[in-house]
Subunit: 244 residues, 2 copies
DNA sequence: CTTGCAGGATTGTTCAACAATCTCTTAGCA
DNA sequence: TGCTAAGAGATTGTTGAACAATCCTGCAAG
């Protein structure tokens, strides 16, 4: 194995580089047919092409996706464990229909995890490097730009990414995975709600405000702000949901 | 459908009975070959018969479990998403080897979830029915009995169940699922630790103490106690892990 | 000591077939 | 009319065999 630099000092940055390469390799390698099929289905579901309650026929999808039934079923399993599909034995797979109870459940978990991450920054990363916040800023600006272009679905996507990146500050692989699931399920809810603008617009500014607090390292303030933010969002979705 | 009793009064107990029957039916129905194979493998892994790092050969297991390769691979997928197996593309499935970083990660999540559940009881269930605590008491007593019989693996199992039931107090399907995963992963760690007695013994009494606090509805106290409990446990496991 | 190259073994994927189960329709009956 | 039962058709669950793609091992060459 070659060693472009061998002073003990740079060992840490070398470790970091190795990790990024390993991540790249993993991303390229992951292209099994099942996962590619899952990618396509995932997009169809989160974009609303497959609405909640829809049944996914095996024979039909094998033709469309050009994979065998076995491979398709593996893709189904993948999405099942992301919460984007549910299996009913001997009946097939369906896009879940979430109800108000699920909204409450999802938001409860979001609050617990996200607030803890932000609050925990005070202890764990009192001197959080500015670079760690960059992805968050990108998401904030992406949402603002999308709003100007009236692309409200894109605003929702940017908002999701903002929260995923927020959780990413915790450096916890399991929190990242859980959040991915939670947000994916949340997207299921958005499609039964008529007004995307009213739903997403208020949170553009709030994301910006939250980012500012993080940048100023006012973590305690940010945490209480985020708590209220999520509760407001929950209430809004519940209201929109009831009047659908 | 027959109605053994039809007075309006017993309607609630009848509902409860219907739920238990439905649960039984679901448990029997869920017996797809893949899930049955997964059950067997899950036990083998959590009981340590398949140690961390072990590779699971497809052809070998198809013979042992008497299922086809495709069905076996579905079982693999199930366990992969529980964190009990990892896929390496074109190389096979392996029992994960967790390291100290994983211990920290797992305990961080346990702390966040469990402490929040207990603390949340004050608001959500100020008058928690005693019946809801029964499963916890059963687990406490099971651990105490197993300890007297020197069955330390059983103590560990009862301890796991205690914490699972604790999370169950939140009535959150997603918290239950997450906790199931977290505890399953935790079991992976126990098998690389030599002394099960030293590991589990201190927590028998602490579970009892925690139960007493819950029964007395001293939720705030219980929460801080639980926080310290989990931190102590984390430290103990890390220490045992480093000196393995 | 490293590099390159068989070959054998293992995983990834497909296909066709059959078994098990569900759903829907229809027939029978009060 | 309304309910129950039976059966046909469709869909899912599972299997086994086959082939392709990839990985691992050992050996030979530099």
């Amino acid at each position: 194995m070659m060693r472009p630099m061998s002073t003990g000092e740079v060992d840490e940055s070398r470790q970091a580089w190795l990790r990024t390469v390993a991540a790249d390799v993993a991303r390229l390698d992951r292209s099994s047919s099942a996962e590619r099929a899952a990618d396509i289905l995932r997009r169809s579901i989160t974009e609303g092409a497959l609405p909640p309650g829809a049944q996914l026929s095996e024979v039909e999808l094998t033709e469309v996706l050009e994979v065998s039934r076995n491979t398709l079923r593996e893709a189904f399993r993948l999405l099942t464990h992301e919460g984007l599909l549910i299996y009913k034995l001997h009946r097939g797979v369906f896009v879940p229909e979430l109800d108000e109870h699920d909204v409450v459940d999802l938001y409860r978990l979001r609050r617990v995890l996200e607030v803890d991450v932000v609050r925990g920054l005070a202890d764990r990363e009192p001197e959080l490097p500015a670079a760690r916040l960059e992805p968050l800023l990108d998401d904030v600006e992406a949402a603002e730009a999308a709003a100007l272009a009236d692309r409200w679905a894109a605003v929702g996507t940017a908002n999701m990414r903002f929260h995923q990146h927020l959780i990413g500050l915790a450096d916890s692989a399991r929190m990242d995975a859980m959040t991915g699931r939670l947000l994916a399920e949340l997207r299921l809810l958005f499609h039964v709600i008529a007004a995307p603008r009213e739903l997403h617009e208020p949170y553009i500014a709030r994301n910006r405000a939250l980012f500012d607090l993080l940048e100023a390292r006012k973590y305690a303030e940010a945490a209480t702000d985020l708590h209220q933010y999520l509760t407001d969002s929950e209430v809004a979705i519940l209201a929109a949901f009831r009047s659908r």
